[in-house]
Amino acid sequence: MSIIPLRPRAGANSHDGPPIRLVKPGAQDTAGLDDNALFRTVVMPHIDEAYRLARWLTTNGTDAEDVVQDASLRAFRAIRSYAGGNPRAWLLSIVRNTAYSWLRKNRPATIVSVDDLEAVELEHGKLDERHDETPESSLIAKVDAEQLRAAIAKLPAPFRETLVLCDIEGLDYREIAEATEVPIGTVMSRLARARRRLLETLRQNN
């Protein structure tokens, strides 16, 4: 049971390295475009996703707008390094990095380092310590949008971004791995832990 390949995606490449910023055969689709046209094709269609991710990371609409504007400028400057991969994942990785620089600068207290996170994961215990209680549908029915939003906002950033990209934005694991610059295995583990923690918080609040 240890060898479970993920379902290959349409158009996905089979290279094993980090999927981001590799020149792919599909890159020539955009080769004839100038920087501006490339930006319009690659970045502009994903501004909504960019804004929502920034909003979940900064937990504030105004800050999210600033972050997206800054990230767009960075994306424009780096548009030549976009190599025909997944445009949404490419942009979201820039948004994410911009949001974290912003947080480091403006709210240093909120930044959780990777080391802290490992500690959190260890403290949180192994995944196979199963919670046997199934949350009754009544619990779920009681949770309103505000409570849910607050509970997601409470997740440590690496868990939160993974959950948001998967369960709200509907990215697949490969895209999430690309956007958050971690291996797919890490995406899977963060996602499972994020969902567990979220359910735990909702249960405690009700």
Binding site: S2, P5, M44, D48, Y51, R52, T134, A145, M188
Partner: protein, 279 residues
């Protein structure tokens, strides 16, 4: 797409790269992760089937699947995906437009700009002022506070401007000699934002150019502050009921401050940025 069963049988029996990435996952952890992957539609048909079988034999895994499904439904029902605020795309497009113009500038203009910049720097050094320090050391929120104070003070003064003129050809030269770089001045009278004049404000110890426009009975102060840090972001959108709109172009951050509605101030900013009626 390896949907056909034959492709699966031929798959090499080695660890796929994403499994190698996991720090020695225990098999039990693994089956939990695979339940999640299964619900997310990430498994190929053969493995989806085998996870489904495992779930039917292990109640704990089935319960995990139930919880995840309920959570996903909850998120889907309660948190509709909101669109980006209406002005955001336009602001992005216009900041990109500016960048493009910079890139498209012929090289002789770059050298001219460099020369102009060095003259400006020399002027700053000679006057002993702290021009360039403003943007890089003061936080957006501090600048915003100072500019709102300046705006309020100007409203209480006998005249909100030091030079009264609706003519940009008068206002722009007036700044020459008072501050190192004179601001971009555009005419927006036909859009019902007439220019009424200009004044010199002080941010920290640095003189900066402020243009004053009028909207009905409200005044808009528009201040040009050299941007020390291109990536400086953040800062409030209103202070004490005064709305603030800010953007950066060509190394200058423009701050529009007024008691007009936020939306109108946005419109003003948009018009100012796109206007061709400048010197």
């Amino acid at each position: 797409m390896a949907i056909n069963g034959h492709g699966l049988a031929q798959r090499p029996r080695r660890l796929p790269h994403w499994m190698k990435d996991m720090s020695a996952p225990r098999s039990d952890d693994n089956s939990v992760l695979l339940v999640h992957a299964h619900l997310d539609g990430e498994l190929d048909p053969a493995n989806a089937l085998s996870v489904a079988q495992q779930m039917s034999q292990e109640p704990a895994l089935a319960a995990e699947a139930e919880r995840v499904k309920e959570l996903q439904k909850l998120i889907h029902d309660r948190l509709p995906r909101e669109a980006a605020p209406p002005g955001l795309r336009a602001r992005i497009e216009s900041s990109i437009g500016t960048t493009r113009q910079l890139r498209a500038t012929p090289s002789w203009m770059h050298s001219w700009r460099a020369l102009a910049a060095s003259i400006a720097v020399a002027a700053v050094v000679a006057s002993g002022s702290t021009w360039l320090v403003v943007g890089s050391q003061q936080k957006p929120v501090q600048i915003a506070e100072l500019l709102v104070s300046d705006h309020i003070r100007s409203l209480m003064a006998p005249e909100p401007v030091d030079v009264v003129s609706s003519d940009r050809h008068t206002v722009k030269p007036w700044f020459n000699g008072r501050i190192p770089n004179s601001p971009r001045v555009v005419e927006l009278a036909k859009d019902d934002f007439p220019l009424i004049g200009g004044r010199v404000d002080v941010v920290g110890r640095t003189p900066v150019a402020t243009l004053v426009y009028r909207r009905a009975k409200h005044l808009i102060s528009l201040t040009a502050v050299p941007a020390g840090d291109v990536f400086a972001i953040g800062g409030p959108h209103s202070i004490n009921g005064y709305n603030i709109v800010r953007w950066t172009e060509n190394g200058v951050t423009y701050w529009a401050i007024s008691d007009v509605e936020a939306k109108e101030l946005e419109t003003f900013a948009q018009l100012f940025r796109t206007s061709q009626n400048e010197l």
